[in-house]
């Protein structure tokens, strides 16, 4: 028995759990990642992170990005799923079209996004061609963040729609028929049957997107390098910059552990929801 679990346990322990604990340990020191010695500084790194304007700005813009994409993707994905829930040939085609970006690497999507959003990029050339002015997609901090958000919505919409599709398929047709016989309107059907029954899927999708959004890194590295003027420096980007480029490893770890704590607190509803469904099935 133990033999079967040994490889998995040791692998996970050595390369996931222990590194996480080590990161937590070093976040309480002043180690720069290279020197041989370090001293304990208690929660000084955390205190500094909470008053560091750069970290706070990163937190704010990461949160705004994660929250907005979560809301936008979910409010688009559910109607899309409802439109293509039938198993006709054309719906299968729609599904394949919306879903394909999931097989693109975020790096590849980032390069595509860069080519489309750049100052002389494809979108601006199209705008110029029809006589409109250019939009400073990647040249202005706020627009750069919006551009990354648009790319995130574009790439994750299909996955979330397919997950909703699965939830919708699980609802029995008799429920709708019975309600319709009772004279319920389409809106009432959605409000009183669809929404309550897919509530667990909504929870899953919301928390999943939020967690992924809070870790946003790849698009930033490829499209903006954190700029312009730090306008797209997400927390994950900031922590890599601090720990590796500025060799402030302990401080970077503190930022990372803070990110982990925030994400964990946000994920508790997800884990609770999953447990509940497990006990039901």
């Amino acid at each position: 028995m133990a033999t079967l679990s040994l490889p998995g346990c040791s692998l996970y322990l050595a390369l996931v759990l222990i590194p996480a604990l080590v990161a937590a340990f070093y976040s309480l020191t002043d180690w720069n990642g290279i020197r041989r010695t370090f001293e304990f500084v208690g929660i000084a790194n955390y205190a500094r992170a909470l008053s560091d304007p750069l970290v706070l700005r990163s937190f704010g813009l990461t949160f705004a990005l994660a929250a907005t994409t979560t809301v936008v993707v979910n409010s688009l994905a559910l109607p899309i799923a409802a439109m293509i829930v039938g198993s006709s040939r054309i719906n299968t085609l729609y599904r394949s079209i919306v879903f394909y970006p999931i097989v693109l690497s975020a790096v590849v999507a980032g390069f595509i996004g860069q080519a489309f959003f750049a100052t002389n990029g494809i979108i601006n050339q199209a705008l110029t061609a029809v006589g409109l002015g250019k939009i400073p997609f990647l040249a202005e901090p706020r627009w750069a963040l919006i551009s990354i958000g648009i790319l995130a919505v574009w790439q994750s919409l299909g996955l979330i729609a397919v997950l909703y599709l699965a939830g919708l398929k699980g609802i029995s047709k008799e429920l709708y028929e019975a309600a319709r016989v009772d004279g319920a309107s389409s809106v009432a059907l959605f409000r009183h049957i669809t929404l309550p029954l897919i509530a667990p899927v909504v929870t899953l999708n919301v928390v999943f997107l939020f967690v992924v959004g809070m870790r946003q890194y790849d698009y930033v590295v490829v499209m903006t390098g954190g700029g312009p003027a730090g306008g797209t420096a997400t927390l994950a980007w900031r922590l890599v910059d601090v720990a590796f480029n500025q060799t402030r490893y302990a401080y970077g770890s503190a930022i990372g552990i803070t990110l982990l704590l925030v994400v964990t607190i946000m994920s508790i509803p997800l884990l609770a929801g999953l447990r509940r469904r497990e006990t039901v099935s």
Binding site: L11, I97, S105, F111, V222
Partner: protein, 273 residues
């Protein structure tokens, strides 16, 4: 139900948002640089060329064949080992309902939410200490460990639907734990394995953070870290960028076409019941 035409109108619009970019990426990858940059929307069939692909194939910094081979091997070995190890672990967790294995399960699921950037710094130190930093086995092991959470999570959910009598009957017949696992349990979890294999292959092939930080500035590169290094952040030759993008995505696009039912089917059938 909404009537058909507004529904198709909406879906056609949404489809366009997905088809137009990929169309432009593919067409521009076949245009000479000046055309791709100056007139990305135009399509003059007489001017299509393979020069971008030739440039990529002759690139001094990015060797496509080597990147395919390296990434393919990293993906295959990492995914297969995490499936094997995770399946055995899940079996033990389900068969032994004790406290220890419950705790192990919770710790494993918790791994789903650890941002990779947080563990990567100590991970680099650990790998460097055992001489595996910048190396193929180092990257494979880290990928396998990283996949373990989702693999075990899916297998545990799957095995809980399998009647316990199946394993117990084999045990009565005198089959050992390992034989029971291979002969009885593994065939049962094959459908979940197919979906996990395809999805994890896509994610591992496409992963950027882990190979970027583990392989660093060494000579080894995956498809994603390789094209990142080759293109850089401020490259504006779209024809060339798109040729890189198409070559980097081709293997997974093919896998998607061939194994689409495992991806979409697995998500709709397995993830949400």
């Amino acid at each position: 139900m909404t009537t058909a035409s507004p529904r198709h109108g909406a879906m056609a619009t949404i489809s366009a948002v997905y088809i137009v970019p990929i169309y432009l990426v593919i067409v521009n990858s076949f245009k000479p640089s000046a055309e791709a940059v100056g007139d990305p929307l135009g399509l003059d069939l007489t001017k299509l060329t393979l020069e971008n692909y030739q440039a990529v194939l002759n690139s001094a910094t990015f060797n496509v064949t080597q990147a395919y081979l390296f990434t393919g091997l990293v993906t295959l070995t990492g995914v297969i080992s995490s499936l094997l190890v995770g399946a055995m672990l899940a079996y033990v967790i389900v068969a032994r309902a004790g406290r220890t294995f419950q705790l192990a399960y919770i710790l494993l699921v918790a791994g789903l939410i650890i941002p990779p950037q947080v563990v990567i710094i100590p991970l680099v130190k650990i790998l460097a200490a055992v001489g595996l930093l910048f190396s193929f086995p180092g990257l494979v092991l880290v990928n396998a460990a990283g996949n373990l959470s989702i693999v075990t999570f899916v297998y545990v959910a799957f095995l809980r639907t399998v009647p316990k009598e199946l394993g117990e009957a084999a045990a009565i017949d005198g089959a050992g734990m390992i034989r029971t696992f291979w002969q009885i349990i593994f065939p049962v979890i094959l459908p979940a394995t197919a979906t996990l294999f395809v999805l994890l292959s896509v994610f591992t092939w496409n992963d950027f953070v882990t190979p970027q930080l583990i392989l660093g500035s060494s000579d080894n590169y995956t498809v994603t870290t390789g094209i990142y290094r080759a293109i850089g952040t401020y490259q504006t030759d779209y024809g060339l960028i798109f040729a890189y993008v198409c070559l980097a995505s081709a293997p997974m696009a093919l896998l998607y076409l061939v194994a689409q039912r495992y991806i979409v089917g697995g998500l709709t059938g397995g993830a949400v019941k």
